[in-house]
Amino acid sequence: MTSEATATRTVTLEVFRYHPERDDAPSFQSYEVPYREEWVVLDALNWLKDEVDGTLSYRWSCRMGVCGSCGMMVNGRPRLTCNAFLREFMPGPIRVEPLRGFPVERDMVTVLDDFMGKLTDVKPWMIREQEQPVEEGEYRQTPSQLADFKQFSMCINCMLCYAACPVYEHEDEFIGPAALALAQRYNLDSRDQGNAQRQELIWSDEGIWDCTFVGECSAVCPKHVDPAGAIQQAKVEATNSFFLSFLPFTPPGMGR
C-alpha cells in the first residue's frame, strides 16, 4: 500500500477531556485521525494538538520509551502512548484516558505529587554508613551481584504499574509498585547499606503487606521491571527476618 493510500484511512480517537476552569465534569470527545501504519497513539495526539485542537493537554518527551512521561490509559489498559501503535487497535475506536488512580489536572495530565512523595520516602539512592574516600577507588561489584538488582533498576517512573494496581486505586496510603521495587533495587545492591533505614516503611502495612499480588503491575511494565516480584521477595525477606529474630544467634549469610 502506498503512503498516500494509507493516509486516506482514518481512525476514531475518543479522548478524555477535562479543563477544570471550563468543565464541571469530564467528558469524551471523538476525533477522526489519519491512520498511518507507523503511527503510535502519541503521534495521533500530536497531530490532533497541531491540526485540530491546541488546548489538548498531555505529557510527552522522548518518543522512544525511555522518559516515562506519556503513560495513559489506551482502551482501558495503561500504556506508554509512544509504543502503542494505532495498528494494534484497528479498526478502532481508540479510547485515550489519563492514568487511572491519579487526580486529573487537565485532560490526560495527572497530578503526580502522591507518587513523587512516596518515591522520596523509600530513599531510592545509595546509602553508606561511611563514605569511602575517592582515592580508594570505586565500590566494586561482581556480575552476579549486579544481576541481583539490575532488573529493578530499569524503572523509568512512568507509573503504568500504579494505574494497573487495584490496591493503589483503593488504598490511599499504599506506597505502590514502582517505589517498592526501587527500594528493593537499593536494598539488594551490594554497595548499599541503607536497608535498616528503609525497613520501617517498606515492611509496614502501607508497604509490602498491602500488596495482594494481583501481578498486573508486572504485566503492564514496559521495562520488564517486575515490581510484583520485588514486593514478594521483600515479603519473604521480612518473614525470614521476623522468625530469625527469635534465634539467639544470626545464621551465616542471614545478617543484614
Binding site: P103, R106, T142, S144, H170, E216, V236
Partner: protein
C-alpha cells in the same frame, strides 16, 4: 477556582479484565480449600466422639450426588489455587545457581514435580493402607 479532578475509585475494577477476575477467583479459592479442610476435621472429630457407625453414615452423606458436585467444585478451586501459585512461585522465590538466575519455567516445573511426587506418595499410602 476549581481544582483537579479527585482520583476515582471504582467498585467494579475486578470485573474489568480477565486478569483481575482470575486473581479474585484465586483469592476466593482459599475459602473453598479451607472449608474442605474444616469438613474433613469435623469428620475426624465425629469418628472419635461418636464412633465407627456415625463415621460411616457421614461418609455416606459425602458420597451422595449433591456432595459429588460440591467435591468437584472444591477440586476445581484447589487446582486453580495450586496452579496460580505455582505460576507465581518464581517471582517470590528466585533461585540463583552459580551466579545465574534459574529460569522461571524451571522453578514452576519443580513445583509441579514436587506436587506429583507428593501425590504419588499419598496414592501409595492410600492404596497400601486400603
Amino acid at each position: 477556582m476549581p481544582g483537579p479532578l479527585p482520583r476515582q475509585k471504582s467498585n467494579t475494577w475486578w470485573n474489568q479484565r480477565w486478569a483481575y477476575r482470575i486473581v479474585l477467583l484465586r483469592e476466593l479459592s482459599s475459602v473453598a480449600v479451607a472449608a474442605y479442610v474444616v469438613l474433613l476435621l469435623l469428620l475426624l472429630v465425629s469418628q472419635v466422639r461418636e464412633g465407627e457407625g456415625a463415621f460411616a453414615s457421614h461418609v455416606d452423606v459425602l458420597t451422595s450426588p449433591l456432595l459429588w458436585i460440591v467435591h468437584l467444585v472444591i477440586l476445581a478451586f484447589a487446582q486453580l489455587h495450586s496452579s496460580t501459585w505455582f505460576a507465581l512461585t518464581p517471582k517470590a522465590l528466585p533461585l540463583k545457581l552459580g551466579g545465574r538466575r534459574v529460569p522461571d519455567a524451571l522453578i514452576t516445573a519443580g513445583a509441579y514435580g514436587a506436587w506429583l511426587a507428593v501425590s504419588a506418595v499419598v496414592l501409595v499410602i492410600v492404596l497400601v493402607v486400603a
